[in-house]
C-alpha cells in the first residue's frame, strides 16, 4: 500500500513540476516565471522527502532543508530586483 501511495505521490509531484515548467516557459510576465520557479523549489522539497521515504534514508533531508531556505532567499532576491533594481541597498 505504501509503495503504491508513494508512487502516486511521486508521479503527481513530477506532473506538478512539468506544469510549473510550462508556466515558466510561457510566462507571460516576470512575476509568473518567478512564481513558477518558486513552486518548483517547493515541489522539489517534497520530491526529496519522497525519495527519502522510498530509500528509507534521511541522508537527503538536509538538501530539502536547504532548498526550503535558499529557494526563499533567491525568490526574495528576484522580487527585490523587480521592485528596487538594487537588491542590496
Amino acid at each position: 500500500m505504501l509503495d503504491i501511495a508513494l508512487w502516486i505521490s511521486i508521479a503527481l509531484f513530477a506532473a506538478s513540476l512539468m506544469l510549473n515548467v510550462f508556466r515558466l516557459a510561457i510566462g507571460p510576465d516576470l512575476p509568473d516565471r518567478i512564481l513558477a520557479v518558486d513552486t518548483m523549489y517547493v515541489n522539489s522539497i517534497a520530491l526529496i522527502v519522497l525519495f527519502g521515504i522510498q530509500l528509507n534514508s534521511k541522508a537527503y533531508f538536509e538538501a530539502a532543508l536547504l532548498i526550503a531556505m535558499l529557494g526563499f532567499v533567491s525568490t526574495v532576491a528576484v522580487c527585490k530586483y523587480l521592485l528596487r533594481g538594487d537588491i542590496i541597498e
Binding site: L19, D32, D38, N43, C79
Partner: protein, 133 residues
C-alpha cells in the same frame, strides 16, 4: 507499539502521501490554468504548501515509526516553509502590482454593478482584460 497498529499507520501515511500529491498537483494546475497572475498566485502559495506539508507529515510519521526517533528535519522544513510561503506570496504580489500586470476583471476588486455602471461602453465591458489603472 502493538502490531495491529502498523497497518493503520501505513494507511495514515499513504493517505498523507496521496493527499499531498493531489494538493500539490492542484496547486500547480492552478498556476497553469488560472487567468491572471493574481489568481495564479493562490495555487502555489496555499495549495502546494499544504501538499508539501502533508508529505512532510507523512515522512515524520514514517520515520518515527521506523527509527523510533522524532525527526527534527521535517519539523524545521515545515517551519521554514510555513514562515516563508506567505512572505514570498506577499513580495510577489507587490512586485506584480509594481509591474502593473494585466489583471482579469474579477481580480480588480471592483463591485460588479459599479463596474458595469462605470463602463457603459459595450465593447469595453466585453474586454475581460485590461491594464490596472
Amino acid at each position: 507499539m502493538p502490531t495491529w497498529f502498523y497497518p493503520v499507520l501505513e494507511g495514515v501515511i499513504a493517505f498523507f502521501l496521496v493527499a499531498g500529491g493531489i494538493f500539490a498537483f492542484i496547486g500547480s494546475l492552478g498556476l497553469t490554468h488560472l487567468k491572471d497572475f493574481y489568481m495564479r498566485l493562490h495555487g502555489p502559495s496555499k495549495t502546494t504548501t499544504l501538499g508539501v506539508g502533508c508529505v512532510l507529515m507523512a515522512s515524520m510519521i514514517y520515520f518515527r515509526a521506523t527509527t523510533g526517533h522524532f525527526s527534527f528535519q521535517e519539523m524545521l522544513i515545515t517551519i521554514f516553509l510555513f514562515i516563508t510561503a506567505p512572505a514570498t506570496a506577499h513580495l510577489l504580489s507587490k512586485a506584480a502590482l509594481h509591474q502593473k500586470l494585466v489583471a482579469d476583471i474579477r481580480t480588480r476588486n471592483v463591485p460588479d454593478q459599479l463596474e458595469t455602471a462605470s463602463e457603459p461602453d459595450e465593447a469595453n465591458a466585453q474586454q475581460t482584460e485590461s491594464r490596472l489603472p
